[in-house]
Symmetry: C2
């Protein structure tokens, strides 16, 4: 593309030109936009997951540590971006990218994204958002209904009420979880006779006033790392986020939960919150939410459900039951940018009680004044974009029945893949799918036979070798860029809780085919066959077992 | 636009179609995109700030509290959005929208926004971002250099280092400020012999171990409300965010700051952080940062500078000096979505010491593992979009000299407006601009004469009436939708700190003309002239003063 006089002289006139509406579509910017669009479609059409280029080489293109002195032509800059950035981005929309919770986007969201960014609304306050504020409250209301199923009167009364909020829209699940626990903490150490409340007086004063040695939060050992972050940020301390053991399906053990709660109370501590996980990040399993709600009620703790990933399952009539009990939660986290197919940056926390957000209410003199409907009075973040529009549009254009089909198909595909893995002599499923997530690993056939005997000593000695092999295969496959699965480390019951590295797949992309899944296994087997030194060490260990 | 078979049947084939690349540009989606683009350009071309429609009426369009059962045609949904949402959004890009820090965007960012959203990268980890990770580190490096001006070796050594980070990219200034204070808190109550550190053990244990009665944060009484939120979230308590009195230019009084620090220490408390404001939200003034840094050093406190709005001033050779001392800060907040003309959702916190982020480091088994370059190990948020690209592009296409011109012109325009106000018989400047922000109000000429005599009793009795009038004018002007200024409540020294409601303008939009500013005053005068009952009460009070 040739140089264009779009803007590259530093004078007022040429500078102001970049802020004035370009004459579409044959303007310079119109041509650049078309070029970008075509390139983006080309990128999204490639069924690879990444180009092979080491990170260190990419870093060379991003070295200049000073703000460039002189302006660059938009056309030149665009070429730089396409060549150095886009070409070396990850094809998260590729149907062969099945390693993380980011997958394909419906294409109708892309022009809407441009609209959303172009409008540049700020949802912290009505004065910079107007209709976007009722829209966001509407989105929160719809997801609140998805979880809590209250009647029409409830939503007519609370959805648009200035003093209330059915939840908070935020950038993602981490902020949603922190917000939920912030509310829980502030409600527990609330203002009362002789105490102005934790928000005003601080945590130490709150503990002292209420006579608690410490606050604790209970969550399964499979809980998301953001909860440890929340415990840190909120001043509770990561040690007070208590990991409760799970059963062989990675679900919290209720007896163990009760016991941990009793221990805490016996020691003068207080169980501030119990967190149920509805779709663990690593294995996709769902905690027994109803029973957890009961325990929470018994110990008078806030019950939060982290359904960041699994929450969308509520749209499936067939699978909704898996999350039974979620409606008992005081708060629920759902990420629209996971199984709701919305672009990155759309998380929500929902509150059963429309007044719960009072515990974290903030005001100022120039915005979010008392009595205003400004959303910023009840959010952790301040200025926020109009991302809620993307959720609103996805809900309308896909519809509940559309989501249901997507979710049912994903789960079915995960079961198909688990069966396919089981049919192989040299792979094994480590955790079965409950939703569309499963873990597995490559194990050479002879090793598999040894493991099946269940000898603890043998498992202990072989596992590190298998872990090294799994790590190697995962890295090599990612670098080759044809397909991508992620990896994590679990403590499977069938292997006596020996720390075990596994492949992890999330089958949410509707375009992932059965043939592609077979390809993934074939590629992994091929990579394994070339890992001669790792295999050598594994077989040597095998021989030494006798 | 007619109904199209884009997607409105719930079957696998039609559903999957929304995830497959549309044949541009004459496809249905291509036509919808063109239609949206034209509408957006039309919206952005209107020099009004909002259409007149009461919020209650808008809320009627966003009432349905259940997820729609059936899918809607994209074309139908688009019409709904244009009619019900876009038409009733706020024209934040209008040159007559001068009330908040959100202003115009350069148009080249819009096609890039579509690219950014379409790529759907997740910057929490390399596996879902690849080249976007070095790019974001590069952006952080450039802004770090803008503040700290370290040499090339420094950036070569630290910018891309896995164990370090020169800052954290986040959704906005609030999260940036919370992150900065989180680091300050965790560094203060760090692990040491016999104590695992606050991150692990919690705030109460940290206070006890180090023997502090309480932690406090010092900031001018003009500090942003997000700091109170940070004090709440972090468990410090809002009462321990101590508001230090300001001088007649809304700058922190150093003597008062020293005194407050001494009081806290005398009472067994600890000054955890001192916060300098570089561009207060309400008046745009800059604290004496060098002197504050000195005090911070004396009391061994973390020195943070909240330059969310004013930070971009560092790109102006002429005005950079106003922020002298910012390079002494341990951390600095800058919002790119304010004076850097980037869309909503781009905040940064920068750290002088590349190791500072260790205090808030988090890891997991499946991502942000030890030794990885995953950005998520050092951020408050988890999943994040590729917004850093927008900052990167704006820095390159506008260049430092381009920003300099924009900033210099904005400040000049603010001085012009202040002079214009001073020339009026019935307006008065309340706070003069230091950057491009000023406050003023309408005061009928006879009242102005009375106020000028400086009688405290007269001021006390007239101010409430003037406040009601200012409020009325601001609301009415906003509702009329021709132009928009915001309002806040200050305690001006010239009026014996009597709480005074003022108009607040931020003159960052390069397309705002001098004529438009004259129009704003003319419109306000006209609205005032019709406020007969408020004026009546004011004049009655005047008469009663005798």
């Amino acid at each position: 593309m040739s140089k264009t006089p779009q803007y590259a002289e530093v004078n007022q006139e040429s500078l102001y030109r970049i802020f004035t509406i370009p004459e579409a579509p044959d303007s310079t910017l119109g041509r650049i936009e078309k070029h970008l669009s075509e390139n983006l479609m080309g990128f999204l059409g490639e069924h690879i997951v990444a180009r092979e280029k080491p990170l260190q080489a990419i870093e060379q293109d991003f070295q200049g540590a000073t703000v460039p002195e002189d302006p660059q032509f938009v056309s030149d800059h665009t070429e730089f971006l396409l060549d150095k950035l886009v070409a070396h981005s990850v094809h998260t929309a590729s149907p062969r990218f099945i390693g993380h919770m980011t997958s394909a986007l419906p294409y109708f969201l892309l022009p809407l994204a441009k609209l959303m960014v172009g409008l540049n609304q700020n949802l912290v306050k009505i004065e910079t958002s107007k209709a976007f504020t009722p829209l966001e409250r509407n989105v929160i209301g719809m997801l609140h209904h998805l979880v809590y199923q209250r009647d029409g009167d409830f939503y007519r009364r609370w959805m648009h009420s200035a003093q209330h909020s059915l939840g908070a829209f935020c950038s993602g699940g981490t902020v949603a979880n922190i917000t939920a626990l912030w509310v829980a903490r502030n409600q527990l150490l609330k203002p009362t006779n002789g105490f102005a409340g934790i928000a005003a007086d601080g945590l130490a004063a709150g503990l002292q006033h209420y006579g608690y040695q410490r606050l604790t939060v209970m969550v399964s050992e499979r809980g998301h790392y953001s909860l440890a972050k929340a415990a840190d940020v909120l001043g509770i301390g990561r040690k007070n986020l208590i990991a409760v053991p799970t059963d062989h399906n990675n679900r919290v053990q209720i007896a163990a939960l009760r016991e941990k709660c009793q221990q805490v109370e016996a020691d003068g501590g207080k169980v501030m919150a119990i967190i149920g996980v509805a779709g663990t990040t690593e294995t996709g399993h769902i905690d027994p939410l109803e029973e957890m709600a009961e325990v929470a009620q018994q110990v008078n703790a806030h019950f939060h459900v982290d359904a960041a990933w699994g929450g969308a399952t509520l749209m499936s009539s067939r699978h909704r039951q898996l999350l039974a009990g979620i409606e008992l939660a005081d708060s629920v986290t759902i990420d629209a940018h996971k199984q709701m197919y919305v672009p990155m940056g759309a998380g929500l926390v929902l509150f059963k009680d429309p007044s719960a957000v009072r515990a974290i209410e903030h005001h100022a003199e120039y915005i979010i004044r008392h009595g205003s409907k400004d959303l910023g009075a009840h959010t952790m973040e301040g200025s926020r974009s109009g991302m809620a529009m993307m959720v609103f549009s996805a809900l309308h254009v896909i519809g509940r029945r559309g989501y249901e089909l997507l979710i049912d198909n994903s789960i079915e595909k995960a079961h198909y893949f688990a069966d396919l893995i089981r049919q192989q002599d040299d792979f094994e499923v480590i955790t079965d799918p409950e939703l569309c997530l499963l873990t597995y690993r490559y194990v050479p056939e002879p090793v598999k036979h040894v493991l099946e005997q269940g000898n603890a000593e043998h498992i202990k000695r072989l596992t590190p070798h298998l872990n090294a092999l799994t790590r190697y295969i995962q890295k090599r496959q990612r670098e080759d860029g044809q397909s991508f699965v992620s990896r994590t480390k679990l403590t499977p019951h069938q292997y006596h809780s020996e720390p075990t590295v596994v492949f992890r797949v999330v089958l949410a992309n509707p375009l992932t085919t059965e043939a592609m899944l077979a390809d993934v296994l074939a590629e992994q087997r091929k990579i394994a066959s070339r890992a001669t030194s790792l295999l050598g060490a594994l077989y040597t260990e095998m021989r030494e077992l006798g």
